[in-house]
Each structure stands twice: as C-alpha cells, then as structure tokens.
C-alpha cells in the first residue's frame, strides 16, 4: 500500500514532502522517543508521533521511513517541513490522537 492510499483512506492532511507519496508502506510504528525509533522502527514504516522538531526528519531519513503522521493536530516546525521537502519523506497530519489513528491504520494494513 502506498503512502497516498493511506493518506486518502485516513483523510490525512499533507504538510510536506509530497514527492514521497508514492512510497510503499510496510508497517506502522508509534513512538515519541527518538532513540526508540532509531532502535526499533523499520524501513518503510509510517511513524506516528506528536514530535514536530527537526530531529524527527533526521531519524526518519536515517531509518528510511515511508512517512510521518503527526497526531492531535500538531504541525511540523518550519525547518522540519523544509527538511521533509528536501528528503521527499512526507509529513502528514491528523486531528486524531495516536491511539485512534493507529487503530485505523492497523485495520488498514495490519501486522507489526
């Protein structure tokens, strides 16, 4: 399933990095601790978090994540969005909380 399919199905807002919307999603990962994501997320995961600062993009890029979903109406910081554009890793957004959006994404893609 592509990032764009998920974005459409879950009615996500697209903040930045739309170049990466064709990327393939292999699973989801929920975490607000950057070191945890560094250690445990896998390439192709969509990362669900409320962290908005620039370091988020550094982690997403190093781990080859498919996209980031910011929860609870959070918006990326300006330089985070700029970095996302550059890297082509989309930052998406939802008003829903992490539990809710994870539940819906899990239903959509299952596994991990």
């Amino acid at each position: 399933m592509k990032v764009s399919d998920i974005s459409n199905a879950l009615e996500l807002q697209i903040f930045s990095g739309s170049k990466g919307l064709d990327g393939e999603v292999r699973g989801g990962y929920v975490s607000d601790l950057l070191s945890d994501v560094m250690g445990n997320a896998d390439a192709g995961h969509i990362w669900i978090t409320l962290q908005t600062h620039k370091n988020v993009m550094a982690v997403a890029s190093l781990k080859d994540l498919a996209a980031i979903i910011l929860v609870s109406g959070h918006k990326p910081d300006e330089n985070t969005a700029a970095q996302s554009e550059e890297e082509g890793i989309p930052i998406l957004g939802t008003k829903l909380g992490a539990f809710d959006i994870s539940g819906k994404l899990y239903e959509l893609i299952g596994k991990k």
Partner: protein
C-alpha cells in the same frame, strides 16, 4: 473492556492490581510524553506507552489513570510496582509495539479519548 480482557487480547502480563482486574476501562490514550498525558481531562483512561520509569507511574497518579500498558517489551521495576500499588494503578507488560497494541485494542472495541 475489563482489565483482564485487555491482558488477554494483548497476551500480556498483569503485574499488580489483580484484585481489581474486573473493573472496566472504556477509553485509551497512547503517548510516550508525560506532559501530553497530563493534558488529558478524562478519568479512567488506559495509558499505552513505551516509557517505563517512575515518572510514568507518577504521571498516572496525577492524571487519575488506573491502568497502564507498557508495550515494546518494556520491563517494569519493583520500585514502579510498589509506587503503583500505593495509588491503586494496574500495570500490564506486553511484548507488542505500541502500534500493534493500539491496533488490537481498537479492534477489540476500546475507544479513543476526546
């Protein structure tokens, strides 16, 4: 959903609060940031987190959270159990990721806060 059903759905381990395991929790919240948890206005929320330290228990105490699921195979210390016992908080260890934990509980009918 009752606490012992949550344990079953997650194939988890209930570490304390077994004497209260038949009370019901309707809504859940997932976060690793305690200040985020502290914004909750609901009572009787299930907290799903991968942050396992004393401050997780303290945060639950201040927010009137009665049950915490520690995902990502995080181990709960004896100190955390003692503090949780004092405040009547049930603790569950679970080896799944937070993502999968949320997915399974969502499918089982647990509702989000808000």
């Amino acid at each position: 959903m009752k606490v012992n059903e949550i344990v079953r759905v997650l194939d988890g381990r209930l570490l304390c609060g077994s004497e209260r395991s038949d009370y019901t929790i309707d809504v859940a919240f997932a976060s690793d940031l305690m200040s985020d948890v502290l914004t909750l206005v609901n009572d009787n929320v299930l907290l799903i987190t991968g942050l396992a330290n004393l401050q997780t228990i303290r945060t639950a105490e201040m927010s009137d959270i009665n049950c915490i699921v520690f995902a990502r195979n995080k181990k709960v210390s004896q100190e955390m159990v003692s503090l949780a016992e004092e405040s009547g908080i049930s603790l569950i260890e679970c080896r799944y990721s937070v993502f999968r934990t949320c997915g399974l509980l969502y499918q089982a009918g647990v509702k989000p806060v808000f």
